[in-house]
Amino acid sequence: MSTFDFLMQGLVSAMEPINLLYALIGVTLGTMVGVLPGIGPATTVALLLPVTYQLDPTGSLIMFAGIYYGGMYGGSTTSILLNTPGESASIITALEGNKMARAGRGGPALATSAIGSFVAGLIATLALAFVAPYIVKLALVFGPREYFALMVLAFVTVSSAFGNSALRGLTSLFIGLALSLVGIDQLTGQNRLSFGVPDLLDGIEVTTMAVAMFAIGETLFIAAQGAQAPDKVEAIRGSVWMTAKDWARSWKPWLRGTVIGFPIGAMPAGGAEIGTFLSYAAEKRLSNHPEEFGNGAIEGVAGPEAANNASAAGTLVPLLTLGLPTSATAAIMLAGFQQYGLQPGPLLFATNPQLVWGLIASLLIANLMLLVLNLPLVGLWVRLLTIPKPWLYSGILVFATLGTIGANPSVFELGMLLVFGLVAYVMRVFDYPIAPVIVGLILGPLAEQQLRRALSISQGDVTTLVQSPIAAVLLGLAAIALILPLVLRLRGRGNVLTQMAASED
């Protein structure tokens, strides 16, 4: 069967009434949580993952796809109206979008961001569908050492290539890797670092960790800022509809943003924010109104928002075809698959095609629902932003613990939530990035397996890792990504990297 047939089959399965309902619940919850200030898609997905526990795999993944895309739409709304981007990929949106909102053009800013996200999501999801089979074919020639090299590259780009400090990025990554050792070793069945505690034999739950690190850590951090002046929500004045001129200025940036964003997301090379920066730079150069940039240029919202969504869909390429999460959000999605014993990768396309294609198809449907849900109802979501701070953050804590209790109602698990929440708070205070911990935790055991397989085949000879050309190139890229930023920083050129900081996704 061709890709097209598979996609059609997926659409038929996603169009079943019950699955449409799951998708609707997913996008609604996703938007609702994503719109809360300081909460990005990664946190949204982590908070809502347990909601999907009781469904069958297909329904659960469909709801999940909705939550993922919904969280991203919600995040843009907050960035534009409140200027508190919940994730680094929304920083640019906040930059221009909030200026537009202050100038009374919040409506068109929200509209161009929603329609741009829709266009980008549509094109990028289709691109995902058509690219995936080729990557799957390529992945079949990958052996353990190629996989290991790919994971090393992902480790480096997630932790140290961008951001303020290679030291702090690598420290976060290795904290994650150290925590990933806890539990039973998958190859020999030996206990490691479980100290006789039965709860630790299965290892540290990724969802517990993600909720603790993102939701609890962030809440504690905001609490510690004390009573500051409340953030100002910009009212949406005027129409949410765009004028003909807005359309004329928006459609090209949407397409350019998509073309820039998708490949960047699809490469195992860091998160969505790089695409948004490149798109912003491109729009600024190509615009007929360069003087408006920095004061609310609509192109500066349209392009980066499209790039953001396109690279989010692009992240699914390595996740679905190789089982390789390259962002915190993707790492949590991988945990979502694993709760059903599904391991994304080339095999999943062969053994469970209806599930994979159902998921891809439901991304298309979720995207459409979100457009309908967001444009007319945006006023309703905005009202969520006016909830007083005490109720808002208490509510977030209730939801955060609800997920953990629902997954595993044990006092021990709640204790872990508290301990790692405090760890994340301290990390935030000292400016350590959070995402590498999660990526290290989930990718660590996979990388270890591949490494040990490769070394067993070579009977312990480490040079085997660079004897395959693909693996050698990938490790070489990883080395460059590790060393080049260090050199740039030593020469005082670190500012560019700081701007590209990967704080959450």
Binding site: P50, V51, Y53, Q54, N164, S165, L167, L170, T171, F174, I175, L177, A178, L181, D185, L187, T188, Q190, R192, L193, F195, I216, L220, A223, A224, Q225, G226, A227, K389, P390, W391, Y393, S394, G395, L397, V398, T401, L402, I405, G406, P409, V411, L414, G415, L417, L418, G421, L422, Y425, V429, F430, D431, E448, L451, R452, L455, S456, S458, Q459, G460
Partner: protein, 164 residues
Amino acid sequence: MSLDHNEQTRSQRRPDWAALAIAAVLAIMAAIIFFDVARLRDMGGYSQVGPATVPDWIAIVLICLAIWTVVASFKGDFPQRERQEIKPVAWVVAGLLAQMVLIRLVGFSIATGVLFGLAAAGFGARRIWISIPVGIVLCFAIYWLFAVVLQLSLPAGPLENLIH
């Protein structure tokens, strides 16, 4: 100007104690890993690659990172921290602790309602005799939605048993 200069030389000479503490934690983590996998070290078999190999490597890198952190702390490479207020954090932590202790005894709604009230106090809503009952009602509604409609298993207590 001269004041600025003083600030800078002082920060260069004096190590950042918090950074040293972080370095110590990293070193302790490395030590724990190193000693815990010691018993697995002779399981490598023919290829000498076993369950202790990767933990050992990670422990070594953690030591290197600890040393790098110490160097950074002496060079003043650590970021300036904003002033942190401990009291609100303590309220939120107290809420999480209370929920942890109470959940087995009184069920989801009451325990989580207490968390809601104490956390709200941390964010400035100090009238906990109002916010705790509000929280309990809210959590009871959530319990109904998730445990009864979505069939998620949440710990039940006296309140929850009323609707079963």
